[in-house]
C-alpha cells in the first residue's frame, strides 16, 4: 500500500514546512514584515549545535541548550538592533533588511563552517518501524511529535495565557494594545524571541533529516508556500498548509510524475492564490482606515 507510505512520509515532510510557516506568519502578523532570512536563522541555529559540539566539545544536550539560548538572543538582536530602528521606513526596506540578514548568516556559516554539508547528530537513535509494510523512522516520529507538542503549547499560550493574548492583541491592533497597558515593543521583541527559539527547535528536528548545509534554509521557500496556503495570517492555517503541501508534493510526484511534482504542487498554490486569496484559513482583512 504505497498510499499509506506516501502519507506516512508526506506528513513529516510537511511538518517541517509547517514549523517554518508558523514562525513566518507569527512575525508577519506582529510586524507586517515577511522575514526572508528566517530559513537562514534555522540553519544558523543548527550550526550553533555543531559548533558547540565540535569546537567546544559540548555534550549534545548542552549544545542544544546553547543553540536555543543564542538563537533567542540573536532574534532579540535582530529586532532591537535592525528592525525596530527601521520600523518606520517603507516595508520594502524592512523586507530587504531581512534578506540581508539571511544572506549574512548563510555566507557567514559557509565561510566559518565550510561549504560542505555537515553531519548532524540525531536527536533520537535512528530506527525504522515496519508497520505491516509501511516504514516509519524514529526521526520522523520525533519530528511530528515535537511539532504537535509545539502546536498545542502555542495554542494554549495564545488562547489562555494573558501574555499570549497580549501578543495576539498587539498583532491585531497595536494602538489598541498600548492603550490597555501592553508594551508593544516588548510584545514584538517577544515575538522575535519565540520565533527564534522555534528556529532552533526546527533546526534540531530538521537537520538530521534534511542534511545540514549552508543552504538548508532554502526550505523556507516551502515554508512561505505553506504560509500562503494557510492564509498568511492564521497560525493553525500555517500548520495545515505545511502538512497539505507535504502531502501534495509526495502524492503528485508519485501518481503523476516526479518531473511534474513541482508543477502540480505550485499549480495548487497558484490556484489557491487566485481562487481563495485569503488562503484556506485566512481571515478577511478589514482594517479601519
Amino acid at each position: 500500500m504505497d498510499i499509506l507510505q506516501l502519507i506516512a512520509n508526506g506528513i513529516p515532510a510537511g511538518v517541517m514546512y509547517s514549523l517554518v510557516a508558523l514562525c513566518i506568519v507569527l512575525i508577519h502578523n506582529g510586524t507586517n514584515v515577511v522575514h526572508f532570512g528566517y530559513g537562514d536563522q534555522i540553519t544558523f541555529a543548527a550550526y550553533l549545535v555543531v559548533i558547540a559540539q565540535t569546537l567546544f566539545g559540548a555534550p549534545l544536550w548542552l549544545a542544544i541548550a546553547s543553540s536555543v539560548v543564542i538563537s533567542a538572543l540573536f532574534g532579540l538582536f535582530i529586532y532591537l538592533a535592525i528592525l525596530a530602528p527601521i520600523r518606520k521606513t517603507p516595508l520594502l526596506v524592512q523586507v530587504i533588511a531581512t534578506l540581508a540578514i539571511g544572506t549574512a548568516l548563510r555566507e557567514g556559516m559557509r565561510a566559518f563552517m565550510g561549504p560542505d554539508p555537515w553531519p548532524f547528530p540525531a536527536l533520537v537513535a535512528p530506527r525504522i518501524f515496519n508497520l505491516s509494510g509501511v516504514f516509519i523512522t524514529s526521526a520522523n516520529v520525533a519530528a511530528v511529535a515535537i511539532a504537535v507538542i509545539i502546536t498545542v503549547a502555542l495554542f494554549v499560550f495564545f488562547k489562555v495565557s494573558k501574555y499570549g493574548q497580549a501578543i495576539i492583541a498587539a498583532c491585531e491592533n497595536a494602538k489598541g494594545a498600548s492603550i490597555v497597558g501592553i508594551s508593544v515593543t516588548k510584545v514584538f521583541a517577544s515575538i522575535w524571541i519565540v520565533a527564534s527559539v522555534l528556529a532552533a527547535v526546527s533546526a534540531i528536528l530538521m537537520a538530521p533529516v534534511v542534511t545540514l548545509s549552508p543552504d538548508m534554509g532554502l526550505i523556507a521557500i516551502k515554508g512561505f508556500c505553506a504560509a500562503v496556503l494557510g492564509g498568511f495570517t492564521s497560525l493553525p492555517g500555517a500548520i495545515v498548509g505545511g502538512i497539505l503541501l507535504g502531502l501534495i508534493e509526495t502524492t503528485a510526484g508519485y501518481y503523476i510524475s516526479t518531473a511534474a511534482k513541482d508543477v502540480v504542487a505550485y499549480g495548487v498554490l497558484i490556484a489557491v492564490v487566485i481562487f481563495m486569496p485569503q488562503g484556506l484559513f485566512g481571515k478577511a482583512q478589514l482594517k479601519k482606515v
Binding site: I168, S178, I179, I182, S183
Partner: protein
C-alpha cells in the same frame, strides 16, 4: 488632578495644539467641546501618550506624564477610550475586556470588575463569547468603555462616545458615564454633542483651532450666547 499647562503638540511638522491649559479635578466630569478638527482628540491622545507633546506640561496627581509611553500611563490610572475605539475585532467580547485588565494581577478582583461591566452594559454580557466584529456600533462603544474601565482607572478619557450611535444608546451610555463618575472616577469627555455632554459634566472647555477659547462651569457655559449659538442651538453645528 490632571493638569495641562501651555501644551503644544501636533503631527509631524503641523502644530495642532496651541498653549492648551486645562484641569480635571479628581472625581469630576469635565467636558471638552468644539467643532470637528478643533484639536479635541489630539488633546486626549497627547494626554494618553499616543502623541508626543512638543512643549508644556502634563501632570497627573503631581507626576509629570509628558513623554511617558501610553502603556505606562495605564498603570498610573489613565485610561483612554479612543474615538476609533481601537478594539480587537477578531477577538471575543470577553477577551477584549480581559485585555483591558492587562496591567492588573489581582485575578479575583478582575473578575469582579468584569461582572461590574456586565452589570453596567447587559448587552455585553449577552454577547460575551461573540466576535467583536459582529457587534453594532453602540455595542462596540460600550465595549470600548468597559475595556477602559477594566484597568480600574482613576481618570477616564472619553473621545466622542456618541459618534455614530443611535440617540437612544447615547442616553444609555451617558447614564453609565454618570454612574462611573459616582464611583469616584474622574472623566474628561470630548464631545461634539455639547448638550448631552453638558448634562453630565460640571465644568467645560471650548476649543477652537487648537486653543481654549471659553471655559467655565457648565451652568455658565449653557447660558453663554456664543455657546448657545455655536454648539447648542438646533443641534446642527
Amino acid at each position: 488632578m490632571l493638569e495641562l499647562k501651555n501644551l503644544n503638540a501636533g503631527y509631524g511638522a503641523v502644530q495642532v495644539l496651541n498653549n492648551v491649559s486645562l484641569t480635571v479635578p479628581d472625581r469630576s466630569v469635565v467636558t471638552l467641546l468644539g467643532a470637528n478638527g478643533a484639536g479635541k482628540s489630539t488633546t486626549l491622545n497627547t494626554i494618553a501618550g499616543l502623541i508626543k507633546a512638543w512643549s508644556g506640561s502634563i501632570d497627573y496627581r503631581g507626576k509629570a506624564c509628558a513623554g511617558v509611553a501610553p502603556h505606562s500611563l495605564v498603570r498610573r490610572g489613565i485610561a483612554l477610550v479612543a474615538e476609533q475605539r481601537e478594539l480587537f475585532l477578531n477577538m471575543t467580547v470577553i477577551e477584549n475586556l480581559m485585555l483591558g485588565a492587562f496591567t492588573r494581577d489581582d485575578k479575583a478582583e478582575v473578575l469582579q470588575s468584569l461582572e461590574q461591566v456586565f452589570d453596567m452594559f447587559p448587552r455585553l454580557a449577552e454577547r460575551r463569547s461573540q466576535n467583536t466584529r459582529t457587534l453594532s456600533g453602540g455595542e462596540q462603544q460600550m465595549l470600548a468603555i468597559g475595556r477602559g474601565l477594566m484597568s480600574r482607572p482613576s481618570l477616564l478619557l472619553l473621545d466622542e462616545p456618541s459618534l455614530g450611535i443611535a440617540p437612544i444608546l447615547v442616553q444609555e451610555i451617558f447614564a453609565q458615564v454618570r454612574k462611573i463618575n459616582q464611583q469616584g472616577v474622574a472623566v474628561l469627555v470630548v464631545e461634539q454633542n455639547a448638550s448631552v455632554a453638558m448634562d453630565v459634566a460640571t465644568y467645560g472647555y471650548v476649543m477652537e483651532n487648537g486653543s481654549i477659547s471659553i471655559e467655565g462651569p457648565v451652568e455658565t457655559l449653557k447660558a453663554d450666547p456664543r455657546i448657545q449659538e455655536a454648539y447648542l442651538g438646533d443641534g446642527s453645528h
